[in-house]
Each structure stands twice: as structure tokens, then as C-alpha cells.
Amino acid sequence: MVVWTDQERAFIQDIFSKLNYEDAGPELYCRVLIVYPWTQRYFGGFGNLYSAEAIKSNPMVAAHGIVVLHGLDKAMKNMDDITVLKGLEKALKNMDNIKNTFTALSELHSEKLQVDPGNFQLLGDCLTVVLARRMTTDFTPDIQAAWQKFLSVVISALTRQYY
């Protein structure tokens, strides 16, 4: 069972409160598709992804980034609740029950989307870089540690239904 200190909860909530989803979401997905181009295999229906410029101006890429951040936000907000919700925002809202909160999303990613779970780590690393750029020196090592712990719990929950 994951144990969160009060300080870790505060750090994670603070990160989300300062994060502009409409801005960071598109940046996140652009970076993932440019830095790890093999991830483009999952976005065949997104149209033109043939160059960095095309990716940066693709509206579907931008929209998907925002969806993913809302999913993480839910995890944060449900740290102490057992309700099953959708999206990544859930993780924030469900920090004490991320495992169960993500059951449906995990099944979706494994059975329907068939995303290689290795990609969750890649996306997590990109999001960490996006946060580092935006928060600069406010992204202290202690905050980075809490953030990466949160990410690893979300990734573990998303990977759970694969087995």
C-alpha cells in the first residue's frame, strides 16, 4: 500500500494547482511524439505527424495532452476516495486508491489501445521535463522526488490490468 506523507501530498497538489493544462498538455504530447517518435504508432488517426512542425501544430495532439493531464489530476483529487472515475486527473484526486481508480483505464490501455506499457514511463519522463521547464528552480529535488513517486504509482496502476 502506498503511503503518502503530508508534505508529498502538498507538493503534488501544488504542482497541479499551478499547472496550466491547456498549455502544458499540448507541450507534453508534442515532446513525447518528437523525443520518442515510435510512440506515433498509437496515433494513426491523428493526421500529419511527419515533422516536428506538423506535430506542434496538430490540434488532435494538443487535445490529447489535455485529456491525459486531466486524468492525472483525478488521481490527485481522489487520494482518499474509492470512486471510479476517468482520466489522469483522477490519480491526483485518488492518491490513496490510485490502483483501483485506474482499473478501467488500465483495461482500456491494454485491451483496446494496446499501448506497450514501456510508453507510460516515457510519457512520465517527458512530463517531468515539461514541469521542470515551467517551474524552473521551484522544481526542487524534494518536489521532483514526490512527483516521480506519484508518477510511478500511476504507471503501476495503469500497467496492472496487463497481467
Partner: protein
């Protein structure tokens, strides 16, 4: 995932911008690594201070980052040029290869913190590939 001419150009240009802060970047990257991935402390059993400002962290950060900065000028033959460093890591340090990715990630985070505008997606992918190539060169003699 070999370095293209474009990758090398991006890395050289970006390193030109950061080189006067290289030591500090190395210090912070090592410092972050020790805090975010505490298992990495096992490689420094005689250290007494693992904080960001510790003289030990500062010195090690400088050592590592100097070698990486050096490697920027050796991108055409990293394996050949880093051969003796590879021997050192294979026989003396015996650093588990998983740690190359860990340190590289913390270097990227530190670069993003201090150069948010310059660290574009294109620079990010080029530097990530460069660090992976350096890691492969260091691990070359492992077995």
C-alpha cells in the same frame, strides 16, 4: 539510434550556451539523482554528505559533467574516444548500467530547469540521444 548530423549540430549549439554553467549543472544533476533515486547512494559508501551543496556532490558533478562536455567534441567516435573511461567503469566502478539512464534523466531535468526556452523538443531529443550514446560508449567494455 545513432546520432545524425542534425543531432550533433543541436548538441554542439546547445552546449555552447550551457558550457560556462556545466559544473553547476553536473552538481545539481548528481544531487537530484541522489535524492530522487536514493539507491544510487550505494556507489558512494565513504561520502558523508549527500545534499545538493555538499563538496562531494559538487566535485563528482564536475567530474562527470566535464567528461560529458568532452564527449561533445568526440561524437564522431564515442566508443573509441571513451575507451579508457569504459575500462574504468567496467573494472573498477562496476556501475549497474540502469544508472546511466537515471543520471541522464536528471541531467535533462536540470537542463530544463535552467534553460527552459533553449531546451526545445528538438534539443531535448538530440541531447537525450547524445547521453544515450555516451552511456553506450561507457558500457562498451562491460562484457
Amino acid at each position: 539510434m545513432s546520432l545524425t548530423a542534425k543531432d550533433k549540430a543541436f548538441v554542439k549549439a546547445f552546449w555552447g550556451k550551457i558550457s560556462d554553467q556545466a559544473d553547476a549543472i553536473g552538481q545539481e544533476a548528481v544531487g537530484r539523482m541522489l535524492i530522487v533515486y536514493p539507491q544510487t547512494k550505494i556507489y558512494f559508501p565513504d561520502w558523508t554528505d549527500f545534499s545538493l551543496d555538499s563538496p562531494q556532490v559538487k566535485k563528482h558533478g564536475k567530474t562527470v559533467m566535464s567528461a560529458i562536455t568532452d564527449a561533445v567534441g568526440k561524437m564522431d567516435d564515442l566508443i573509441g574516444e571513451m575507451s579508457s573511461l569504459s575500462d574504468l567503469h567496467a573494472t573498477k566502478v562496476r556501475l549497474d548500467p540502469v544508472n546511466f539512464k537515471i543520471l541522464s534523466h536528471n541531467i535533462l531535468v536540470t537542463l530544463a530547469v535552467h534553460f527552459p526556452t533553449d531546451f526545445t523538443a528538438e534539443v531535448h531529443v538530440a541531447v537525450d540521444k547524445f547521453l544515450a550514446a555516451v552511456s553506450a560508449a561507457i558500457a562498451d567494455k562491460y562484457r
